[in-house]
Symmetry: C2
Subunit: 117 residues, 2 copies
């Protein structure tokens, strides 16, 4: 087993109260990476898929944010309750979860209408 078949990064960024951009690591998100890990192990993906904690992924207005490589599928507003669906549909089945995908017009661009001016 060489490279991971998929490598999943879960933003853990927490800003101080009052920061202009919001934080992925707000209430509940601390459960997201462990939930993904638990469902991934249960699905037999240990060693093939890695669920990784990450610093700020810079899509803050759409957090909690997750990105899956090598296909570069971005998810936004992911809740711990979404973890099982992401694992079974995407990581096992190879079908990204469309309802959670971050809109192309919001991804990695200052013109995203949700960013502060």
């Amino acid at each position: 087993m060489p490279k991971f078949e998929r490598h999943v990064f879960v933003c853990q960024n927490a800003r101080p109260a009052g920061a202009p951009r919001i934080s992925c690591a707000k209430d509940g998100v601390t459960d997201l990476a462990p939930q993904l890990q638990q469902h991934s192990r249960a699905a037999g993906l240990k060693g093939r898929v890695r669920i990784n904690k990450a610093g700020c992924l810079d899509q803050c207005e759409h957090g909690p944010v997750v990105v899956v490589y090598p296909e570069a599928v971005w998810y936004g507003n992911v809740q711990p309750g979404d973890a099982e669906e992401i694992v079974l549909e995407h990581l096992v089945g190879g079908r990204p979860v469309e309802r959670l995908r971050l809109a192309e017009e919001c991804l990695n661009t200052d013109s995203c209408p949700h960013r502060p001016a």
Copy 2:
């Protein structure tokens, strides 16, 4: 500018002293992500390439470890002084830095001879 052209993850894991596996975040590695960020900005890659901090990438014996997606190129024993070469050769030029690549027989496998038994 939609998806990042490249997304670079730099392990920041620090274990307590005496842990069986070593840590990427030992002396000096705290300078690695900032060095990559600085050279990336200087090369005009802001917004196109993201240098990201990451939790444990699980290749601990070869740390400090860096992985570049979407091509899934893994680097080991990366020092802050290697940052400029990675940026100019790989992130700008598209040529991975072969001397820093993690050996295939060590990547993501319990049979890596450098792992503790």
